[in-house]
Amino acid sequence: MSAHAGPIDHHHDHTTTSGIPNKKLFMWGFLASDCMFFAALISTHVIYRLHPTPDTPDVRKIFSIELTSFSTFILLMSSLLMALAVGACQKGKVEATRKMILGTIFFGIIFLACQVYEFFHFIHLGLTLSSSMFGSTFYTLTGTHGVHVAIGVLWLILMYIRSFKPADAGRAWIARALLQFAAFAFATVSIMIVMLAITHAGAEQGYSLSSALGALHHTALSTTATGVFLVSCAILFVLGRSSWAVDFGEANAVDVEGMGLYWHFVDIVWIIIFTVVYLLEYL
């Protein structure tokens, strides 16, 4: 699986002066920088909450704290899966790593879907980017965080695809990787459309199984999206069942760990945003 003959020490890299792997140190440095990035953004939001403009809406009437609490919980749980993925990779368990990465992707997409729904919903209620200073700071802050999550999901998807790289360098796999990537892209977009259709139907007719199923063929778009989602998932399922020896394993644990550091960081930032932007409004 890996070219290394001896056991790999995941906490000490003998080729570097400090013993910390280069990639890990790079990620820590980047996260330090990103801390300042979010500190500046969150400060902007707080400053304008303390100097509210006259057009500030009644925030509690707009927020749906139940939904955001749910998506926060989902994001926290995705961190658990991410940690399990790192652990599995450090033990060289490729299958388990893949499953945990898929789980993290799934939870990450649920979080993003909640945010997309939330944005649609808030705009429906009249809170837009330019409707008030609150809208400007809220969407810029949570949107930037959402972009971080989306980049994380993209990274996870690429890592998942990377885990299928065959050990036999002669075996062609790039077309396969592209197909896998396209399937992920279509699945992500289509599930967003489906979720939006379901929640809109639920909001209009009450949440029930029949309203959800009805939403799936309510419009041409939602019907197509449902089909695309099912086909993409089928492709992913088939392509996910490889049996050849792969060039991915314990030696890649540092890559998965770096990705994990990023994911946990984005998660921690969300805990702060959830507290400052949402919970403090209810004090």
Partner: protein, 650 residues
């Protein structure tokens, strides 16, 4: 453990060589010619690229300064329109800071720092190339305005709100100069942060055996501090620029007073970045000076730990003084007093450094070669700039000096007398290392004296102009204000300075082609960058990774030649038995990805979001291919005569 390591290396060596890869993953191997420069991952080549382009932009910025001085030479001049004048001082400041001094420092970081720590390259060679190409993308975006109807950015290098708001730049459709400024700075920030992260990892992780942190050359220490300042301060301006971009492109009101925005917020965010930025400009300069002074005083740096520690203190305090740029905004007495005190405190570590440099000179055998002349000029001129800096730190005095030519005099004394003098010294000092040729003493010293005289004639009168009330950034002044003589003298000085810089460049270019060829270590230097086997250094820097036994590692090598030779022979054998010298492969994807960013940013600045998405997709494809191409690498084998053979095993 040792046994596992050996098998580990052997297993890698005898691993099968990768079979044919698809054409777009083929690694370029050109060592000369255009492709070798476009795809380079060699820190020395990247350093040279940074050097060439930063010196080019230094000339561009200097030309803009001369135009400004022509306009101000006489009262009520009509040489430049007011609009053009605004563009000149904006682009002069932005160019000199982001496209001249920072990348020239980066040139030294790239070229010198890995040599000083005995490394063969930086930690992430492709990322290093990427940082350079992203810098070029940012430089193009910032300057592209000159060639459009909208003109260059005209909001000042500080871009104060509300000057940047839409209502001041919608005279006609397509006036995007401010958007170009935003995207240009944003992209340059990406370049700086990526470069800085790379340097941090390199210094922490890639030091030669025996090179403990407290043996690091001071320039490497200053590289490390600068890198930390960059990664921690740039996010503030990134956010400020994102918010401004949202205001201009998507109708938010972060800095729009009519929508309840607070222009003062821009000032805070800008200066939280902007003040550490001035230390980003001066700390590398201090590092270069700390290398030159010991070499030409023939003794070790005086008080090494104190010099390092005061560098750290300057960097740390640098984050707590930003509001001294805002004393006149009415922050309240408490905040003003606190920031004034913190600012005064920063003079302490800076003064300590000055005393250490004087201590290095004291009792030394001083050789006044050209680099040393610039270094001595640095100490004196930087002190003058420091003194006027302490004067500003007193808030009541600052209320008089704010936005006057006194401030202009101050920061040119620290930026030219400080950073530029030191960087010019560095160019002279390292020219033999980089190109194997030495600048002639006569012409070098002549350029120094002309620059020194021209600089003082230009900027010393500005102190008095400022105290007599002449405001910054005014295109014209009346003849009855008592500013005529000072301005005329300053303009004459500017041309003397220009002539000095011209001599300097002609001499450098002539030396590159016809200068005296020198052997390695022409200055009898002390630090590891001079321990390379030849000048210019071979691709792999050192035939054998050096082992460091003392702080001035190369000096120790020269005084312990026998032991070092025996040790090197032993290590050479070990290295060969471990598979030879590992070198990184060249790659197309750094420049490819940077091109994607350039395209995306240009479209974005023109509010063409489909085009921006196309640029983003190109960037993404570049990143993915980059990742899947893998780090790669090859090995070099040396025989007894130092001949190099290459094998492609990774």
């Amino acid at each position: 453990m040792e046994a596992t390591l050996k098998t580990d290396y052997n297993a890698k060596d005898h691993a099968p060589i990768a079979a044919a890869r698809p054409w777009f993953f083929t690694r370029p191997t050109a060592k000369t010619g255009l492709v070798s420069w476009l795809t380079t991952v060699d820190h020395k080549k990247i350093g040279v690229l940074y050097g060439i382009f930063s010196l080019f932009f230094f000339l561009v910025g200097g030309f803009e300064a001369l135009l400004i001085r022509i306009q101000l030479a006489v009262p009520n001049n009509t040489f430049l329109t007011h609009q053009l004048y605004n563009e000149m001082f904006t682009m002069h400041g932005t160019t000199m800071i982001f496209l001249a001094v920072m990348p020239l420092s980066a040139a030294f970081f790239n070229y010198i720092m890995p040599l000083q720590i005995g490394a063969r390259d930086v930690a992430f060679p492709r990322l290093n190339g990427f940082a350079f190409w992203v810098f070029m993308a940012g430089a193009i975006i910032l300057n592209v305005g000159w060639f459009t109807k909208a003109g260059a950015p005209d909001v000042g290098w500080f871009g104060y709100a509300p000057l940047t708001s839409n209502q001041f730049s919608t005279h006609f459709k397509g006036d995007v100069s401010t958007d170009l400024w935003i995207m240009g700075l944003q992209i340059l920030g990406v370049s700086s942060v990526i470069g800085a992260l790379n340097f941090i990892v390199t210094i922490v992780n890639m030091r030669a055996p025996g090179l403990t942190m407290m043996r690091l050359p001071v320039f490497t220490w200053m590289t490390l501090f600068t890198a930390f300042l960059i990664i921690l301060s740039f996010p503030a301006i990134t956010i400020a620029l994102i918010e401004l971009m949202m205001d201009r492109s998507f109708g938010t009101g972060f800095f729009e007073v009519s929508k309840g925005g607070l222009p003062i917020l821009w000032q805070h965010l800008f200066w939280i970045f902007g003040h550490p930025e001035v230390y980003i400009l001066i700390l590398p300069a201090m590092g270069i000076i700390s290398e030159i002074l010991p070499t030409f005083s023939r003794k070790p740096l005086f008080g090494y730990p104190i010099v390092v520690f005061s560098g750290a203190v300057i960097g740390f305090l640098g984050f707590g003084v930003w509001s001294h740029h805002m004393f006149t905004t009415g922050m309240g007495t408490m905040a003003t007093a606190a920031f004034a005190l913190a600012t005064m405190a920063i003079a302490v570590p800076t003064g300590v450094k000055i005393f250490n440099w004087i201590g290095t000179l004291w009792g030394g055998q001083i050789h006044t070669r050209t680099p040393m002349m610039f270094a001595l000029g640095f100490i004196w001129m930087f002190m003058m700039g420091g003194f006027s800096g302490v004067m500003h730190s007193a808030a009541p005095a600052d209320a008089q000096q704010q936005d006057s030519y006194f401030v202009v005099a101050h920061f040119h004394y620290v930026l030219i007398g400080g950073s530029i003098f030191s960087l010019l010294a560095g160019v002279h000092y390292y020219f033999p290392l980089v190109f194997g040729r030495m600048v002639s003493e006569f012409w070098g010293k002549l350029s120094f004296w002309v620059i020194f005289v021209g600089f003082n004639v230009t900027f010393f009168p500005m102190h008095f102009l400022g105290l007599n009330g002449m405001p910054r950034r005014t295109a014209v002044y009346d003849g009855n204000m008592g500013w005529n003589e000072g301005n005329l003298v300053a303009s004459i000085g500017a041309f003397i300075l220009g002539i000095g810089i011209f001599i300097y460049f002609v001499v450098i270019i002539r030396t590159y082609f016809k200068g005296q060829v020198v052997k390695r270590d022409p200055w009898d230097a002390r630090t590891l960058e001079w321990a390379v086997p030849t000048v210019p250094p071979p691709e792999h820097n050192f035939h054998v990774t050096p082992t460091v036994h003392a702080r001035d590692a190369f000096w120790y090598e020269k005084t312990h030649a026998k032991e070092i030779a025996a040790e090197k022979a032993k290590h050479a054998q070990e290295e060969e038995s471990h598979g030879g010298i590992h070198m990184p492969n060249q790659s197309w994807f750094p420049i490819f990805t940077a091109c994607g960013m350039l395209i995306g940013a240009l479209f974005f600045a023109h509010h063409n979001f489909q085009g921006a998405i196309v640029g983003g997709v190109i960037t993404l494809i570049g990143i993915i291919c980059w990742a899947f191409e893998g780090p790669g690498g090859y090995h070099l084998h040396l025989d007894k005569e130092g001949n190099v053979t290459r094998d492609e095993s990774q």
